[in-house]
Symmetry: C2
Subunit: 419 residues, 2 copies
């Protein structure tokens, strides 16, 4: 066993012990630790910002781009937002221990389910130091122990926050190893976390597509992740025009870099001549580049042709591909084939078509008359989210506290034996 393997195994075993200790903690205990952490962050702003300054200087010296620097930088406002996030998590109901679905069996057994934590969660993430606090808080509130491995560029910021997290756990009587940190930038540790079957129960990567893709390919531990957000809005034959214009404009332009941004607009042939020119004018005010199918270009002759590759591309940029479809079936087929099963919305006033869309589109979030931009944990009322899942196994869509839990069966008897 290599030193790195040994290091990860030790961390995971400490986390496992802490996980079993956490099973005895009440919601009150867990909330007290989160409250203490919020207080400590406020009281230690200077130390955190100093550590962050060190990371920023290193990052600038390494020539990291502005987007990276922006994600890395902390200030009083972002620390206040961290604390606000903690208060929101404190306010959420504790899912652990909830019992439901109890049924009485003919032999007198009462059988139901209890909501329980997953165990030890491995978080692997990039530059944003606020993930350290979010992830620690969500894992703790849901009764899980976690092992956090942040990006090397945020190392000092993360370690400053780590120190406060451990202090908050210690001062409120919870096991410090409930939140473990990989206190090294050795890349081998990531590889070893991904191989730690039976030691780590689930891996959650947060970061750019290349990180997430590499992790999901290499990992032998189950992964909760999302790779792409190729989201669609379909303007149906029976769409309300005002809603269609508003939603199609908002879904593309309110932010370009988010995974719930629309990347392809589908529009029913019968409405294209009426709606597309006005939409094109709206997009022009934001300099959005349009790329269209053959029929679209008959109406918007000045735009580029969209290739097959466009339908499968998450631009994360002011670019939009547009395709005309002859009916809802064609729209649904296109979405299921080219989309990333993230979030897709139909604009229609037709009850039956809305219901067919909801049923047949195979995505984590399916919407009627709403901008796709609403697909996130806060908007869904989950409180904070630890990520979004485009997988179908375990959890789909925004992942909040419930996504970090499982259910075990509870069987209550009175001496029953099986004949």
């Amino acid at each position: 066993m290599s030193d790195s393997q040994q290091y990860i195994e030790n961390k995971a075993q400490c986390a496992r012990v802490a996980f079993y200790q956490l099973a005895q903690a009440s919601s009150h205990d867990k909330n007290a630790a989160l409250q203490r952490l919020a207080d400590l962050i406020l009281a230690n702003q200077n130390a955190i910002l100093q550590a962050n300054q060190q990371d920023m200087q290193n990052a600038q010296a390494k020539g990291l781009d502005n987007a990276m620097l922006d994600r890395l930088q902390l200030n009083e406002k972002s620390l206040a937002a961290m604390c606000e996030g903690l208060h929101q998590i404190i306010a959420l109901p504790d899912p652990i221990g909830e019992m439901d679905e109890f049924r009485l069996r003919p032999n007198g057994l009462r059988i139901g389910k209890m909501r329980v934590p997953l165990g030890v969660i491995g978080m692997i993430y990039e530059s944003r130091p606020n993930v350290t606090v979010d992830a620690a808080a969500l894992c703790l509130k849901s009764g899980n122990a976690c092992i956090l491995r942040g990006g090397s560029e945020a190392f000092h910021s993360n370690m400053a926050l780590a120190k406060l997290i451990q202090q908050a756990l210690h001062e409120t009587g919870l096991p410090e190893n409930a939140v473990c940190f990989v206190a090294s930038t050795d890349r081998q540790h990531v590889g070893d976390m991904l191989q730690a079957v039976d030691l780590i129960d689930v891996i959650i990567p947060r970061g750019g597509k290349s990180l997430v893709s590499r992790i999901s390919q290499e990992s032998r531990v189950p992964v909760i992740k999302h790779l792409d957000g190729i989201c669609h809005v379909y303007i149906d034959e029976f769409a309300d025009k005002t809603k269609a214009l508003n939603i199609a404009f908002n879904a593309k332009t309110s932010r370009y870099g988010t995974c719930n941004t629309m990347e392809t607009l589908l529009i029913h042939t019968s409405r294209a001549a009426e709606i597309l020119p006005q939409l094109a004018d709206l997009y022009a005010t934001k300099s959005v580049e349009l790329r269209g199918c053959l029929k679209t270009r008959a109406i918007l002759p000045h735009i580029q042709a969209a290739s097959d590759e466009d339908w499968a591309t998450e631009y994360l940029a002011p670019i939009l591909s547009i395709k005309m479809v002859d009916n809802e079936d064609e729209a649904i087929s296109h979405i299921n084939q080219y989309g990333s099963h993230h979030t897709d919305s139909i604009v229609t006033e037709n009850y039956t078509l809305a219901n067919r869309f909801l049923r047949q589109v195979d995505s984590a979030s399916v919407m009627v008359n709403v901008s796709t931009r609403f697909a996130d944990g806060f908007e869904y009322g989950l409180g904070a989210e630890i990520g979004i899942s485009t997988d179908k196994i375990h959890v789909r869509g925004p992942v909040g506290l419930h996504g970090l839990t499982s259910q075990k069966w509870i069987v209550l008897g009175d001496g029953q034996i099986r004949v």
Copy 2:
């Protein structure tokens, strides 16, 4: 791409198309296909039994052991049981399309969940031909397409059943590719199924431990599985003696080869002298070999010593390890450390200790005053089960129709855009 990869990719793509077609099928359509299948099995008993006879002859020629032959053999009674299984699945409520947890958000959005199939399920199993019919029926009822790869020793039986399944689908207007068969005994196909990320959504292995273990190690597709059943009964300080004797005897001796059989008995020190000698007499009537810890052997001096390996062994045989513990914490720690997170039961009349056991034992099924032998899908009222999961991700314990589903988010709006 190898021929085998191409073969599996073609199957998976056909299954995917069928999966999307199935989204339009009503419960009535799916039940009609299952009913037709039951009728066809009864009407074609001779053809099935002839094919099975061929498998039996090949298996005997190859020198397969009696247990294998027993699992392989079909007769009129087992075919009737298959049909009875189909009728039970027909009678189950269809989980697909269920909508719940709808909440009204402050911005007027109504957000909830819809239960949906997983997609394309790959089943890899060994000798029992009845798995072919069970798996096809459970996947179809839950709206999933499936690719079935049975054991080579059951090839002719499976192909005879496959023909009827395809006929039933065809005659009732459902896509035949909703149930695909790997009609070849090429072992490479299994390997290629396990690599078919994005083509197959989940793999469910059914068979011996070596098969399941190999599959879960190799698979890049998520796997729902259980490996070991190291189940415990803990006789607590406050156990009712009669219940303790009945449960401990039943959990070990009602069947030896099942995964929910007790393999280790834990008993509180204060009750050992009173209960263990009587239990030993009971086990002696069934020639169960006992292996004990040091303290146990002070009371039962004639039995073997249990090693550390015993605590981690699933005997699947008339052997039982026994350990005395000083308190409930020690029992829970032992179970969480050495058990397989399958099924564990406490015998106690103490309310508080029962509740602590339920909360702190980290197993798929946790029981009070019940024989562990009840841990299966039929006993839990799920109808048929497609397997048991000792994992925590996605589904724990017996896996019925619900375990083959996921939930997507439904967002109902009225033109909302995000500011």
